[in-house]
């Protein structure tokens, strides 16, 4: 069966420090991958999505970046964090093909607090 792992679960970082959140999917190949951010009391904002290795689409211009070095690995990074980067980050994946119902499945999430 397919599973998705996201880490770290909780992170407290000072302003100006770098960030790396990692997500891996197991039990499938060539999934579509997504990074979402959920600010306190708000909905899910799509940050990046990827349809293949090295293919990244950015939805929100900001100081965050994403990379997909391997088929089932998706990394969210920043060189210098801002206070406004605080929030709950969710990685998600979507299997290909209509039979899947085009459902996306989410990881457990990562809490980021920038201080």
């Amino acid at each position: 069966s397919q599973t998705i792992h996201q880490w770290p679960a909780t992170l407290v970082q000072p302003v100006g420090s770098p960030l790396s959140l990692e997500c891996t999917v197991e039990g499938t190949s060539n999934p579509n991958l997504y990074w979402y951010r959920q600010a306190a009391g708000r909905g899910l904002q799509l940050l990046f999505y990827s349809v293949g290795i090295g293919q990244i689409s950015s939805e929100v211009p900001q100081n965050l970046s994403a990379s997909r070095p391997q088929d089932r690995q998706f990394i969210l990074s920043s060189k210098k964090l801002l206070l406004s980067d605080s929030g709950f980050y969710l990685c998600a994946w979507r299997p290909l093909g209509r039979e899947s119902g085009n459902t996306i499945y989410f990881g457990e999430g990562s809490w980021l607090t920038v201080v």
């Binding site: 909905g43 939805e59 459902t103």
Partner: protein, 114 residues
């Protein structure tokens, strides 16, 4: 651009009663998918129900059903026999079959009153 609107930030329902959460969306596409996700206090996103736009029949999953009105671009979620475990944030989501973006509404927080 596609948008998803949930006009009810919070709702409350008595245990065992029925509640309907509203969702409207804006798109020029004809082939798309709609979803309702539940986010309990644990923050884990859980799929509740999904609907393919090309299917006229409303989707149902046990106590959960949708009222899909394609012409009106409306996709409401009905929860029957509400249970305490249904208390959560509920998100409506849209995905066009033409691209890979999945857009979420801002959510409705559902409280279940014992």
């Amino acid at each position: 651009a596609q948008t998803v609107t949930q006009s009810q930030p919070e709702m409350s329902v008595q245990e065992a009663e029925t509640v309907t959460l509203s969702c409207t969306y804006d798109t020029s596409e004809s082939d798309y998918y709609l979803f309702w996700y539940k986010q309990p206090p644990s923050r884990q996103m859980i799929l509740v129900i999904r609907q393919e736009a090309y299917k006229q029949q409303n989707a149902t999953e046990n106590r959960f059903s949708v009222n899909f009105q394609k012409a009106a671009k409306s996709f409401s979620l009905k929860i029957s026999d509400s249970q305490l475990g249904d208390a959560a944030m509920y998100f409506c989501a849209y995905r066009s079959n033409r691209d890979d973006k999945i857009i979420f509404g801002k959510g409705t927080r559902l409280h279940i009153l014992p």
